[in-house]
């Protein structure tokens, strides 16, 4: 229960609600309101991980989202393990099991720490310099080594059992960050009645006010002002206040993405509450009030556990009631850290402050601190630290007027708070494509020109004093709401201003000093300087070569220091070096939040036909065709694909088969100009097609290549029933609409998709007529009255039907269109009626084989977007008399009318009739020619044909029609095989069977 570093009072933790969680298997006691980091520190634990490259002991650096080092694996129960969580933002709660990462066998004794001794080897660009040769080492040695060393945590191995929600929202004003500036902005915006969303990544709104309990706003305690402000906002219906919500992405047109952590902080979850919720907000105006990040100081061994950012020391003291140590040294180059020292002193810590600035450059803060009895060493640098797994002393030295360091002195300590100044969090501003400006006085890039309806306020734009943040935030909130109201806030003064420093002056050999810039990637100042010496000048290149600013923290603490070092090495001004690009996400986002509910059956829409259930219950195996799930084949007990398909193929040719063709695209083309429109869209002539007759339609793109095909029936003078390929339905309708709306708006035509309204039952085979004869009324089914390629309306089983006499098998066949709601009943009735005739249900595989036996093409299989009607032998379908149709002009393109070289559709008969070629196999004339060989074409369709009792294949072959009877050579996995070029029809070559 003992929490030796817990202060006896203070903080926003709830001391009446103790909690216990686990760290590396040991119980850790804390209070409701703690983060994992604050509870660990309360128990004297600073060592929480090993660094990425050198396996150096690392502690907690920060109190917030910028934490680079304290990355833990968090286990919230079975299947709920998450690596690389920042201890500084994970809320402590009962039942949490946290473990440190990147060490073996244990955190305390880590074999990998030998890397630290080998550090001269692991310089910038180590990978590029080391893993160069020999080539054969790559697969077996280098890659496995790199893979094993890559990454910090372990990815979870189980499926995520949690639920993730997704929400779209609109608002007038979105405010990012509920610190003083964001709250004041919300107050101003809320008063106008505009719809406001205020999002803050922390569990409690308030930002810096949460650790500034003695500050005053308008003469009242800041904590009281905060409580009143939150109550005011909470009472307004036009304000949505979202804690635990990180705005991570700022996209076009004020589209802002954020994740709300809904339940991770709760010990148990009621009902179906999601773990996280992804918000996609479209905001009228955005106010960025995300605050700023403190910079570490860069000195030798600045990474020992117990060395924190100065303001974080203050946060742990004031917000969590935790002392990061007993003896604190504050090292700084600016004023804000004096407040840290004051608060620490007041909390009873033994405090010393070391300031790089000369006494003359400091403000009244020095005197104030000395007055409370704190030793202040101005004009001093930090040249190193003592200790290993915990800092035990800070080595400081005065900086002489000649720039040299004076005598070293070791200040014993168990905690260091360092401050190298502040960097506004411009991440979201930059994501919004706003342009930054370098501000010399602030030594920082600040928002300059907005690219969207957005404004920044407070520390996010370099305003660091409390009164300024409030006043500026209020003005921003008002302006974003179309109001010109302003309010001037009074507040206790804030200590601001710092002297920029890139690397602390040192008396040590700079080539040996290991002063860390990027803690997460173990990048030192020396590495960055080396990269510049090796010729990397662009900051983007330095980043990638040294890895500074990469990984999960994206360099929030390190970027400005790295940038400054590069600028110094290049002897350029900071703005001339520029910043790296800020990209989403601001902090890591779980995959779950991004995926949301789109998992399993909801991953992609699945379309099924009305017959689907019947097919399932009759043992069908399914395949995906576009979004459709189609019956592939209907295996009987013990049958495999080939046996089932062979049986189905025979049944259709010898008896009757039934096939669900409902997925065919259907478009109703209606209107006085319907025939004219059809004339323009298809190569075929339509004007003279009689009512009740069908025609195979071929549709081209304007470039002359085949886009789609399908049977079209003329229902009446002004109505065509158009069918398309299954996958092409939407594309064809879009293509038609495009021309109708944009080129020929004068045509009076309506286009309606009827794909879902008409179900299609294909009944194919010599006995097809016998099966439906007793079921059909109002239609004379005799061959004379109802020939091939005709369409009649009537009823089947009492259901209205458009009955097509068409065939995609080469057999006598009907495609029975019925309203989808009645399709299953009709299907079952036909099936019953067919049972005495041996009716056989067949799937898409048999459909493919049967059509290939007849040489019928499938658009997308025989065609690939570069195939003309003549290439597939369909030039004869093109209307001779039409002046124009889509694609006609292109059929006269020089490359299309080329007399030689075009690939043409032919059949291929393998010399070994049992050998089924691979679809896609390449075809050459001479397999002995030197590589690269001249490819003549490829196999487009290939099957075992049960009805031909041999393999058959269709192929596109250059000048193929001139090669009839020639032997060509086709690739197989075992080398070339031989096949003879044939006509692209293998069964019933005269085409008599359809007329039965």
């Amino acid at each position: 229960m003992a929490q030796p570093f817990r202060l006896s009072r203070g903080g926003r933790i709830d001391r009446s609600r103790p909690i216990v969680f686990e760290f590396n298997g040991k119980p850790i006691h804390g209070y409701q309101g703690d983060t994992v980091a604050s509870a660990l520190i309360a128990n004297g634990i600073h060592l929480v991980g090993r660094s990425f490259k050198y396996h150096r002991p690392r502690g907690i650096l920060s109190h917030g989202p910028d934490e680079p080092s304290a990355l833990l694996s968090v286990d919230r129960g079975p299947g709920r393990v998450d690596p690389n969580n920042r201890a500084s933002v994970v809320e402590a709660r009962a039942g949490l099991r946290t473990t440190s990462q990147n060490h073996w066998p244990s955190l305390e004794y880590d074999i990998g720490a030998v890397n630290d001794l080998l550090s001269p080897v692991f310089v910038a660009g180590f990978y590029y310099k080391t893993f160069m040769w020999p080539r054969k080492f790559w697969d077996k040695v280098y890659e496995p080594f790199i893979r094993a060393a890559a990454g910090l945590g372990k990815a979870p191995t189980q499926a995520d059992p949690d639920r993730y929600a997704n929400r779209h929202a609109h608002c007038d004003v979105l405010i990012v960050g509920a610190g003083p500036a964001g709250l004041a902005a919300a107050l101003a915006a809320a008063r106008t009645g505009k719809r406001v969303i205020l999002a803050d990544e922390g569990p409690e709104p308030g930002g810096s006010l949460l650790h500034d309990p003695k500050a005053e706003i308008d003469g009242r305690l800041a904590s009281d002002w905060l409580a009143d402000t939150l109550a005011d906002l909470d009472a307004r219906e036009n304000v949505i206040l979202l804690p635990r919500t990180t705005v991570f992405g700022y996209y076009n047109h004020n589209h802002v993405a954020m994740t709300e952590r809904v339940t991770d902080h709760l010990p148990s979850v009621a009902g179906q509450a999601p773990r996280e919720r992804l918000w996609q907000v479209r905001a009228g105006e955005v106010i960025l009030a995300g605050g700023s990040h403190e910079r570490p100081l860069v000195f030798a061994d600045n990474d020992r556990p117990g060395i924190l950012l100065a303001e974080s020391v203050r946060v742990f003291l004031n917000r969590y009631g935790v002392a990061p140590g007993h003896r604190l040294v504050v090292a700084t180059s600016g004023a804000s850290a004096y407040q840290v020292a004051l608060d620490a002193k007041a909390a009873g810590l033994d405090v010393t402050l070391v300031d790089l600035r000369l006494e003359a450059d400091c403000g009244p803060e020095v005197t104030r601190l000395r007055q409370v009895g704190v030793e202040v060493l101005t004009g001093h640098t930090v040249v190193g630290s003592k200790g290993r797994k915990r800092v035990s002393g800070l080595i400081v030295a005065p900086v002489e007027s000649n720039g040299r360091c004076g005598a070293r002195r070791v200040i014993p300590c168990d905690c260091v708070g360092m401050s190298g100044g502040w960097t506004p969090a411009v991440h979201l501003f930059s994501q919004s494509r706003g342009k930054l400006r370098y501000d010399d006085a602030l030594d920082a890039f600040v928002p300059n020109i907005s690219a969207q309806a957005e404004r920044s306020a407070g520390a996010a734009r370099g305003t660091y004093d409390l009164a300024g943040c409030l006043t500026e935030g209020f003005a921003a909130g008002a302006a974003a709401s179309g109001s010109s109201e302003t309010r001037t806030f009074g507040a206790s003064p804030t200590l601001t201003g710092f002297q920029p420093v890139r690397v602390m002056p040192t008396d040590a050999d700079p080539t040996r000093v290991r002063a860390f810039v990027d803690y997460q990637n173990d990048v030192t100042a020396k590495d960055i300087k080396l990269a510049v010496r090796e010729g990397f000048q662009s900051i983007e290149h330095v980043k990638r070569y040294t890895t500074t600013g990469m990984a999960t923290d994206q360099g929030k603490t390190s970027n400005m220091n790295a940038l400054g070092i590069v600028a110094g090495q290049l002897d350029k001004a900071l703005p001339a070096v520029g910043t790296t690009t800020f990209r989403p996400p601001y902090t890591p986002v779980t995959f779950g939040a991004l995926v949301g509910p789109a998992r399993h059956a909801l991953f992609d829409p699945i379309r099924t036909t009305p017959i689907h259930g019947w097919a399932e219950s009759h043992g069908a195996t399914f395949e995906n065709v576009a979004l459709w799930r189609r019956a592939w084949y209907f295996p009987k007990a013990g049958e495999d694909l080939h046996e089932a398909v062979a049986r189905e193929c025979k049944a259709v040719r010898e008896g009757v088969g039934i096939f669900d063709a409902s997925t065919l695209g259907k478009i109703e083309v209606v209107g006085p100009d319907a025939a004219e429109f059809m004339n323009r869209m298809y190569v075929n002539p339509w004007a003279k097609l009689a009512n009740g007759r069908c025609r195979y339609g071929l549709m081209l793109k304007e470039d002359g290549y085949i886009l789609d095909d399908g049977v079209v029936a003329r229902v009446s003078d002004q109505c065509f029933h158009v069918t398309t390929t299954t996958g092409g339905a939407a594309r064809v309708l879009g293509h038609m609409e495009d021309y109708l709306q944009t080129e020929w708006p004068d045509l009076q035509v309506f286009l309606t998709s009827t794909t879902e309204q008409w179900a299609v039952i294909a009944l194919q085979g010599p006995k097809a007529r016998q099966v439906i004869e007793p079921l059909v009324e109002g239609i004379d089914l005799s061959p004379e009255a109802f020939p091939h390629m005709a369409m009649r309306t009537g009823t089947i089983c009492g259901v209205p039907t458009r009955l097509f006499r068409v065939s995609f098998t080469g057999e006598l066949g009907f495609e029975i269109n019925v309203p989808s709601d009645h399709a299953l009943a009709v299907w079952e009735a036909i099936f019953s009626a067919g049972e005495p005739h041996g009716i056989t249900p067949y799937g898409t595989e048999t459909m493919h084989v049967l059509r290939a036996e007849k040489g019928y093409i499938i658009v997308g299989q025989e065609t690939d977007g570069t195939v003309t009607p003549d290439d597939v032998g369909m030039a004869g379908m093109i209307a001779k008399t039409k002046v124009d149709f889509v694609g006609k002009r292109s059929l006269a393109r020089p490359d299309v009318i080329a007399t030689t070289g075009r690939k043409q559709l032919v059949g291929l008969m393998t010399e070994d009739p049992k050998l089924v070629l691979d679809e896609g196999a390449q075809i050459v004339a001479d397999p002995n020619q030197p590589i690269p060989m001249r490819m003549l074409g490829h196999v487009t369709s290939s099957y075992w044909s049960p009805n031909c009792n041999r393999s058959i294949a269709l192929a596109l072959v250059a000048d193929g029609r001139a090669l009839m009877g020639r032997t060509l050579h086709i690739t197989t996995p075992d080398g070339f095989t031989r096949a003879t070029v044939s006509e692209a029809v293998f069964f019933d070559t005269k085409g008599e069977r359809v007329n039965a």
Partner: protein
């Protein structure tokens, strides 16, 4: 994600739309009378300006209507959207930028 003002439906998110490329390229009245060079330009040659671009958009997952838009390809700002057959009110020259 862009926010696009369909002239018929109002502001809608980009995912409801399909972009149809450069606008104001009329299909020739008599394609058969066009020589190969001009036909290939009609078919394949499109502008790719840095700045304001007139584009065709289709509100595919909405009203289904085609319309035109002026969009700045640098800032992604939509200057205006207008129905098929209409002319834009704005100048189509590039916007001045800092």
């Amino acid at each position: 994600m862009l926010l696009i003002a369909c002239p018929h439906c109002g502001n809608r998110p980009e995912t409801e739309f399909r972009c149809g490329g450069q606008a104001h390229i009329a299909r020739p009245e008599q394609p058969g009378a066009i020589d190969d060079q001009n036909w290939s330009e009609y078919l394949f040659v499109r502008k790719n300006p840095r700045g304001v671009h007139a584009e065709r958009w289709n509100h595919a997952h909405g009203c289904g209507r085609w319309f035109n838009a002026l969009r700045d390809t640098v800032s992604d700002r939509f200057i205006e959207t207008y129905p098929m057959g209409a002319s834009p009110k704005s100048e189509t020259t590039s916007e001045a930028r800092a």
